[in-house]
């Protein structure tokens, strides 16, 4: 199982039946493909869809129907389509149960940085700030370290924040961690790794709820 597959196959377990979920650009949008075809969920896409679903067959693909990442989606029965003001009203009114979102950095306080790397990458804000600030539950999907092996899970974010204290849970390729008043608590490990080795790859201090238990 690849790093990506490990994150996604764990992430899909976060989606509870009957919920409304937004899947951010990048890793999160791929979570949809891990959902059973009959799973009871309404996927929100901030460009104006409630009830987006997996890509249609080629002959049914609609060039006027994409998700916020540009993918050609289909619609489930009971879907609705609406303008961007209504779409973000839904977000700001906290009618979304869960947003899964990517991160450049995430920290022990639940702060999230995912929109700007000053001087290097500044494609814009998109819907990230409102999703991060207003969704009832934010789960970050991220590799545990960047491609150079540097920690992405920090004591305190250094990049400009998307939103403060917004993250409930972090799912990396190595572990599932919850943001608590006492900092990050490791709930599950997704690979065989010692507490010490996991801590070594993490700048933020970790508490191990799994200590001596599951590995």
């Amino acid at each position: 199982m690849s790093v990506v597959e490990r994150i996604l196959s764990r992430a899909v377990m976060e989606i509870t039946p009957g919920s409304i979920v937004n899947l951010g650009i990048g890793l999160p949008t791929q979570v949809m493909h891990y959902l059973p075809d009959d799973f009871d969920v309404q996927i929100h896409s901030e460009n104006g869809i409630l009830g987006a679903w997996k890509q249609a067959a080629p002959e049914q693909m609609d060039p006027f129907l994409i998700d916020a990442a540009g993918a050609y989606v289909s619609l489930r029965e009971g879907a609705s389509l609406f303008d961007s003001a209504v779409s973000f009203a839904m977000i700001r009114r906290a009618r979304l149960d869960l947003t899964m979102i990517g991160a450049f950095e995430v920290d022990a306080h639940g702060n999230l940085a995912n929109w700007k790397i000053p001087g290097k990458f500044s494609p814009g804000i998109g819907g990230a700030m409102e999703l991060a600030q207003k969704t009832q539950r934010i789960v970050v999907l991220t590799t545990h370290t960047d491609k150079h092996g540097n920690p992405k899970i920090l004591k305190t974010c250094r990049l400009p924040l998307t939103a403060k204290a917004c993250v409930s849970r972090i799912i990396s390729d190595l572990a599932v961690m919850d943001v608590t008043d006492q900092g990050l608590v490791v709930r599950e490990k997704l690979v065989e790794i010692s507490d010490a080795d996991l801590q070594a790859l993490t700048e933020a201090e970790l508490t191990f709820a799994t200590e001596g238990g599951t590995a």
Binding site: F64, I66, A128
Partner: protein, 231 residues
């Protein structure tokens, strides 16, 4: 009163220096034919307001590549590296807003209001001290309304009173821009006579629309982008 116009006449109303809202989130809703004519006519020093910059060689990206655009007010241009490079070089000024804030600023102008109080981004670097308002014991960020001289929109269906119906994810910013711009130009591949819509199902009432341009057909611009198809 018939609002039908030819492509050429409709776009000729736009002077250089105009502020123009453009509908569309990615391809859906982008008025490719109106934009092509604006490229052909060559008006310059334009300020564009659009969710994104489309992709290289498509839609508003062509106006930017053609040097017609002074400023772009947008939310995310991550799918257009060429425009990011032009922004970084200073060839085009780019102003970013959170997506729902851009929508709401436009909608606020469209409602004839002047601004609104929010908490989005209030703790982030996008908020300057001068944007903050203490009011009745709480602190808000003031977002001012964003209006425009023109809006260029694509509607799946229209009648010649200007009533519009959108399709799929092509609704996005269009109903908001129709309300917010002083002169609203709409292209449609399906122009009908009044009475062709169920009144409750009209997305944009004709009162907001000034010109309707019938399109004989949709070019390949409106089709599937193969690189976005998941294999």
């Amino acid at each position: 009163m018939k609002k039908n116009r030819t492509l050429e006449n409709a776009i000729a109303a736009i002077p250089s220096g105009a502020v123009i809202m453009v509908g569309g989130f990615g391809n859906p809703g982008t008025p490719f034919s109106l934009i092509s004519e604006l490229v052909r006519q060559g008006q310059t020093d334009l300020t564009l307001i659009k969710n994104d910059a489309n992709e290289a060689g498509h839609g508003v990206s062509r106006l930017i590549e053609n040097g017609q655009v002074k400023k772009l007010i947008t939310t995310h241009i991550g799918l257009n590296k060429g425009v990011i490079d032009r922004m970084n070089r200073g060839d085009v000024e780019v102003q970013f807003h959170p997506q729902g804030m851009l929508a709401e600023k436009i909608r606020t102008a469209g409602a004839g209001s002047f601004g609104f109080l929010t908490d989005i981004g209030i703790d982030s670097e996008i908020t300057r001290p001068e944007d903050l308002l203490d009011w009745q014991g709480k602190t808000y960020k003031v977002e001012m309304a964003l209006s425009a001289d023109f809006a260029l929109l694509h509607a799946a269906h229209a009648d010649w009173l200007g009533n519009l119906v959108y399709q799929g994810s092509a609704i996005n910013f269009s109903p908001l821009m129709a309300m917010a711009a002083n002169h609203v130009i709409v292209e449609t591949p399906d122009l009908g006579a009044p009475g062709c819509f169920i009144p409750e199902q009209v997305h944009t009432p004709g009162a907001f629309v000034d010109s309707v341009v019938p399109l004989a057909s949709l070019t390949s611009d409106y089709g599937i982008l193969e690189h976005h198809v998941r294999r």
